[in-house]
Symmetry: C2
Subunit: 407 residues, 2 copies
């Protein structure tokens, strides 16, 4: 597997474009289009929130019931959530505009929105944006990068990843972009993600690969415990790599899953590290758990603890809060068996052993916790299962961003 510089245009036959449609933001791009030269098999995973934004409902229908996806139209600024019946109409009109501009069927167009909940979409601007983007579609590195910028809201950095693998002597590429910074919590993918690949694969296996992989990647990310109404990950595969078509769970499938996992893990960590107001990526590894499900619950409980997140911001080795968060997770364990470590580029330190302090050096712990990416490792000593969750510290800027996000 070869990591390459790229995003949504890295795979053969995919193009992208972006534009400033002035949907809500001024002076920046706010719409992106991803286009495949040939029909794709599509897989998708969507928010579990009962309140589902209109684009989520639109895409669920397209992914589940219509073959041959060709394009994704995404806007930032307004989420098209809680917009009543009009909301679904916007999706249809967006697809119609794309259909006319690109000469493709309406039911091959996926849509996605991110931004403020409850505002109605200015559909004329959306339609104009679609028209403006269609002639600008390009397969270049630059076009993918600009698309990744256009879908940002409170994100401070664009988020892309891409890899190449070999399948049956052919180079297969998996690339993607995502956005996500606030309203991020592990229950489905909690963000927008668009992954493209030129792999030739059956729709069933594409969906299974995605559904499996999000459990270990996006669903292990939490910025603030708020599961969004718009979470969507779309995975499009257009078969242009020319590999022997993957129709069973063979080594080719495993190789593709590895590539997909790399792209998703990289994007997931970028979301966590770019959590609203974050100064640090906070990784929580639970090892020695009795079951995988318990390891997941334990690691998520720590990564979502406001008190722990504030302590990470303060570079404070406040391990009591971590043990406390493990304790209220709902998983049964013996607190007097737990070991805890902190680790970062600056080193690794054992903080508690069998539930009590090791008498570690606070100075050394603070040094380790002062890096941009810090890891807490909890060994439950109950079994062999493990899980890793990603989050970020809780900072003044999180409050600043969210106390008046709409203005």
């Amino acid at each position: 597997m070869k990591i390459i510089d790229g995003g949504v245009t890295a795979a053969k036959g995919f193009k992208a474009a972006s534009t400033a449609a002035e949907i809500k933001y001024k002076g920046r791009t706010d719409m992106a289009m991803v286009f495949s030269e040939v029909p794709c098999v599509a897989a998708g995973t969507f928010t579990t929130n009962v309140v589902k934004a209109a684009p989520v409902r639109w895409d669920q229908d397209i992914v589940y019931n219509h073959p041959g996806a060709r394009a994704v139209i995404c806007n930032s600024g307004i989420a098209n959530a809680c917009t009543g019946e009009e909301g679904f109409g916007y999706c249809r009109e967006t697809a119609k505009a794309a259909s006319e501009s690109l000469g493709i069927p309406e039911d091959s167009v996926l849509v996605a929105s991110t931004g403020v909940i409850g505002m109605q979409l200015p559909i004329d601007r959306i339609a104009n944006g679609v028209k403006a983007m269609a002639p600008k579609l390009e397969g270049s590195r630059e076009a993918g990068l600009e698309a990744a910028k256009a879908i940002m809201t409170t994100d401070t950095e664009k988020k892309e990843a891409a890899v190449e693998i070999e399948i049956g002597g052919k180079t297969v590429t998996v690339g993607g972009m995502c956005k996500g910074s606030g309203m991020i919590h592990p229950n489905m993918c909690t963000m927008l993600g668009f992954i493209t690949s030129d792999v030739d694969i059956s729709k069933e296996l594409l969906q299974e690969a995605l559904s499996e992989d999000i459990k270990d990647t996006y669903n292990m990310v939490s910025v603030d415990g708020d599961t969004s109404t718009n979470d969507t990950v779309l995975l499009l595969a257009n078969g242009q790599a020319g590999n022997p078509k993957i129709t069973e769970k063979n080594t080719d499938y495993e190789e593709f899953k590895k590539a997909l996992n790399y792209v998703n893990t990289t994007l997931a960590k970028k979301i966590a590290g770019d959590g609203e107001g974050a100064t640090a990526l906070f990784e929580v590894k639970v090892i020695g758990a009795a079951t995988k499900a318990e390891a997941v619950t334990l690691s998520k409980s720590v990564v979502t603890s406001s008190l722990t997140k504030a302590a990470i911001y303060g570079h404070d080795a406040n391990w009591g809060r971590i043990l406390c968060a493990l304790g209220y997770s709902g998983v049964q364990f013996d607190p007097e068996k737990v070991d805890l470590y902190f680790e970062s580029k600056a080193g690794k330190i054992k903080i508690i052993e069998n539930g009590v302090s090791t008498g570690y050096s606070e100075e050394e712990a603070t040094k380790i916790l002062s890096e941009e990416a810090v890891t807490a490792i909890a060994d439950m000593k109950m079994g062999d299962a493990s899980a890793t969750a990603w989050g970020c510290d809780l900072t003044y800027d999180y409050i600043k961003i969210n106390a008046d996000y709409r203005s």
Copy 2:
């Protein structure tokens, strides 16, 4: 029912004392003692956290297995949690010191600690504190008030409440104090609370009254979603009111429950309003839910949403976040039926009707949300069940307090 100015010494036969034992804080009191002149029936409810502080385990044994409670010894500064086997030893030594100083059995002494997790207790200072307090015990208003101050950690205000009721021609008093500001989340009482009453009641009914009542009071409070290791509510009844003993669920029992509910509700709201860094009490009422359990889940989901809490801090009527939080609660409902209101001293406004904006005045909404206590009311239009949860806004000061709490 008559609301009176009072706390833990309001009921007949209860005394209190406090002292500066220098356990961790300097220049302030940090120990309190509550004493009953005669043996009490005791009820208790405790944290559901798997990691239970030593005093929780001690008190569970005393409340469940030993009759005739006489005293509660509480310290602030260090939580005596995650202190291994030593931790339980401190409880025993504290009880021993109280037994000697007060001339009561060791197994009539309840203990409670609050503060930093993981530090060992300076047991000599605790024992000296007990000795210093014993001769200072008083039934005065002042003694109760000073005890309420001594148990504070990051609390900015002491928290007390008291009421009088009539039972069988006798005046019965219920009074209490509590502390709680951070690491507050509804799962058990999430704080320390000490309630005293001179009511004459059986132990079974006392426990049942308390266990029932915390579900609607302390368990509906969340400051930060972190369920503490030390949560304890103790309710002592010494029978000094001389009422006909309550041994069945008659009207006397109902009257006592009303008094207990007033004291607990008042204390619970004080905890929410004094959440770490809070500038506002945030009340969430869910009405028209299908079941009580669903109303509880829905209201807690909103009151714990970081994004909603930050919006309340910004006086921003960001209703999309509230609908979003209802949506990820796990309860099924039709988003396109929900009505939402904001209410405070400054007025009441309907923000959404049937899931979409009413086109309300943002200016008026901001005015309503600028009060010190604000309420969001969500009408699910599914049934007759309702629940109220209490929390607070999420502010810069929450981060400040928690980024470096230990130093």
